[in-house]
């Protein structure tokens, strides 16, 4: 890794939501600040700046990461996804986003981007995720509005739709199977 000059500004190049992006930052600039104030992508939120709340979660090379604990210079050459990249096209919602809307899984919406990014990454990895697993993924985030239950419901519903199942009856068989899988995964 090259040594960076504290006083200098550095150009960082990476892929952002599928398109090439670059931003000029100091060595100490956090990824949250680079995204929000450098690139104008204000959908990634800053809730605690010490890695607990999860509001700033983005996907770096497909893996969820706290942008507030990541230096912007560290994502050189990486593939970044943020909440702005979740919609299939402007004005339309993706499956997970639409499930959140149907289930009233957000109120103020401040924590939502981070939760969407974690769930999006997890469901790509484990499309048959159980309720327990999804609850634990959501457990990595703080939400002060919803009491979490509608978020878990939205995640389960989105998972069922993504698997091509009827979302109106995802719970019975899907969850039981998922729970068994989940236990295996944890064992």
């Amino acid at each position: 890794m090259p040594q960076l000059d504290v006083g200098a500004r550095h150009r960082v190049r990476f892929t952002l939501n599928g398109a090439p992006a670059d931003v000029e930052v100091e060595a100490r600039t956090l990824l949250t600040d680079a995204l929000r104030h450098g690139l104008g992508l204000t959908g990634t939120h800053v809730g605690c700046e010490h890695g607990v709340c999860g509001a700033c979660t983005v996907a770096i090379d497909g893996v969820p990461a706290r942008a507030c604990l990541t230096l912007a210079v560290g994502v050189e050459g990486c593939d970044l996804r943020t909440v702005e990249g979740l919609s299939p096209e402007p004005g339309r919602l993706g499956v997970l986003q639409a499930a959140f809307r149907r289930r009233h899984a957000l109120q103020c919406g401040f924590c939502t981007a981070g939760i969407l990014m974690s769930l999006d990454a997890y469901l790509r990895l484990r499309p048959r995720a159980s309720r327990t697993e999804l609850t634990e993924v959501i457990g990595g985030h703080l939400c002060r509005c919803t009491g979490y239950a509608p978020i878990v419901a939205a995640a389960l519903e989105a998972a069922a739709i993504l698997r091509g199942e009827d979302p109106s009856e995802p719970t019975a068989q899907g969850v039981i199977e998922g729970a068994i899988e989940g236990e295996k995964a944890h064992a």
Binding site: R36, C53, F100, H104, Q107, F110, H141, C143, G147, Y148
Partner: protein
Amino acid sequence: MGIEHIPFVGQSVERVEDAGLLSGRGRYIDDLGTKPGTLHAAIVRSPHAHADIVAIDVVAALALPGVAAVVTGRDLLDITAGLVPAVRAAVDARAIAVDRVRYVGEPVAIVLGRDRYVAEDGCDLIEVEYRPRPAVVDPLAALEAGAPVLHEGVGANQVSDRSFRYGDPEAAFARARRTLVVTVRYPRNTGSPMETYGVVAEYDPTDDSYDVLANFQGPFSIHAVVSRALKVPGNRLRLRTPPDSGGSFGVKQGVAPYAVLMAAASRKAGRPVKWVEDRLEHLAASVSATNRITTLRAAFDDEGRVEALDWDQVEDCGAYLRAPEPATLYRMHGNMTGAYAIRNLRMRNRVVLTNKTPTGLVRGFGGPQVYYPLERLMQRIAVTLGLDPLAVIRRNLIPGDAFPYRTATGALYDSGNYQHALDVAARDGGLEDLVRRRAEARAAGRLYGIGYTAAVEPSVSNMGYITTVLTVAERANAGPKNGAQATATITLDPVGAVTVQVASVPQGQGHRTVLAQVVADVFGIALDQVRVMVDLDTAKDAWSIASGNYSSRFAAAVAGVAHQAAVRLREKLAAVAAAQLNVRADDLVFAGGRVGSRTNPDASLPFARVAATAHWSPGLLPDMDGAPIRETAFWTPPQLTAPDEADAVNSSLCHGFIFDFCGVEIDRITGKLRIDRYVTMHDCGRILHPGMVEGQVRGGFAQALGAAVYEELAYGEDGAFLSGTLADYLLPTATEMPELTVLHVESPSPFTPLGAKGVGEGNCMSTPVCLANAVADALGLDAIDLPLTPAKLAALAAGRDEPAPPAGLAGKGSPSRVSKPGDRTMRGEGSASVAAPPETVWAMLLDPEVLASVIPGAHGVRKRSDTHFTAEVTLGVGPVKGRYKADIRLSDLDAPRAATLAGTVTGALGNGGGSGRITLTPEGGGTRIGYAYEAAVGGKVAAVGGRLLDGAARVIIGGFFAALARRAGQSAGGRANAPGLLRRLLARLGISP
């Protein structure tokens, strides 16, 4: 006309807010651009709970490239005034400290830089010299004679003491067959919205006006407080709010002092100023709910029927009484008898100030502090009499046919049938099954308990309730205060589209959706033909002092007044259409996007055309009062009258009902609380949007669970703040949430336009005590205070005796000696061998040059006298690295055998003090140095938690002696007893030291 409008109200339609929020297109305060040249602020805050500011050295900060200005409290003295609270105590409640700090986190200086990073660098360069004073943290200790006084102008820490009497409490107590007392220490907690405070402010010297954008939530009575603090009339403070806000739960009312601070800083700097609070600042110094010590005595009969209550409440508002405090203490004044028909009351309300963060609005606002003792009392009465707690609750409920019901203290309960709600909850919530589960669990030897709570949830505050804190004479002097003006504006544009503007300042509750439902129903048009704007501009929009998002007033007041504005506009539009269609206005129906005759299907016009008439064809308008283009309605309920001469007050317009019950099990070994079932029954009147009501209940429950089990804003006895990160202040996550059964009955309010009542705060009032009652039932306890942490419950399960209250809540003279998370006292001992005789080591300990080389991170050790040294040290503890000034004194000198080292360190990040005894014992040709120390730290360092501190102390002290050993070894001719790595390295090279 044949087309019927199916009402949107009552349906869980998808929220109009959500598409933007789910796509990263929210517009929160930090997402809005700023004017070029805007400076970014960072705040230097007090590490001391109580201290004089001796000096503030800003030279180094100002010299830093990119820093434009530094502003201190003294700099703002001439252009600002204090923030005036409801009680005119001689407390100069400023937004920034002047000459003295009174709580950890109090602003001391503001650095304005070209970006936030530079501003924070500047903060590190500011040197503040403090002279610490004794701090007082416990509210009862603060009342004692001889307690440190925070505000000399007041002369004591008590700023208000009022007694009240309703009915004939003396007679009731005199004839009572039984009495019982509960004492509750309700702890501090807060709402912790995920978005912190933010302010962008600019001063315009050409007309002496301020433009302030802040994620403020109201009440807008505070606008008057802020403009007064900025010394401008209200029309020269343009206060704006962003379109979206990341939650508040009352807490964002507390951004007001920062609006003053940044506005004044902008004036000093001559440029716009932006400030976004960070999480550490938010936890330490935003807003806390009050902690309160309550003694509640009851007179009751053998059946558990309560005849009288005697309340003694000591409210702790922190270091300054800040508007609207002491409102927390008076918000519940009308419903101090809860859901019960109790006619005799005595009350004493005292307000004290302590060296803690000033208090303010937090969801539940005064409710948790009242219902906790009241519902613990009901449970205790039942246990004392050997009755079922539910039977005692039922026996005391207000009769179902008594509504509207005037309580002893003056509230007018609008509607309800509490007995019916209990019956439905017991049936649909499976109470019988729960009782069976308890019996089974207990038969198996497990600790299982059931808790109940009945509570009345007030909403739509009377703006006059807070004046109950004043005496009748003071109130007469000030003039009566009352009411709760709500407002909505509806505008029709030239293509007949509808825009609604309100001053409800939502913080995520979905006001835009509900208002679209309400207004679309009135006009009989599609939901998406109505657009709702909720960002407020006090210079251009309709508002009043009651505006804002608090006291659960939206559904009852704001949705109601929007309905009234829409109906008024519809009446005018009906006249317009009637003239064009040549039918009678009362024959017209608004449905399906058309305005048409009920009787003649051919006579109809598109709504949009009727709505656009006043723009394009004013000549077609019939005679009417004002054009049907824009309608602003104001509404205040007549029931909200000022407190009367007997201090009776209808403190809120609406009174919902909650009945909760739960079953919990406590692990005997770990003390972990498992919530087996939780059932919450609500009567919030007419439900406008079931999904949102469900969201309010579930969200409120989660916050209440946090307050009950996990959260506490904890303070050390010296006022050090101990829960400064989200790793110390624990918020519940998805994995902690139990199954929750939410039930409803609906008793529409006769006092609100739509029959709705508030529902947002109820569980914050009912749930903590419901869980506590269940724990008390499981463990057979008489007394239990929050939070119900595993450590506390494990001790109680083992000993059936509550351990000492947490630090900061302990009474004087009862310091906790048990080591626990958050404890900042570190103790340690150790020894090191040095290859030099005791005389040499002794000389080294007294030599500043040697000390400079062996104290970790030290630079600039100065010898002030033979036994007094000062130094600058750089230390890192966990994530917090900072520079400190050290002051070290030697005493009890016993050359060359022993000495006591006592010292203090102070710095922006914290402070500490401690002492240690060093002993030197000859050992072979060298010396064995023994040491034992005890140290305590405060400030930001303390807030990172005790777990890190112990380790850090060991490393630093160990480093000191290792360095001393090395140094002594050199001076003794290279025969160092080299520690660790060096010794291993030498051994590998075949060199034996």
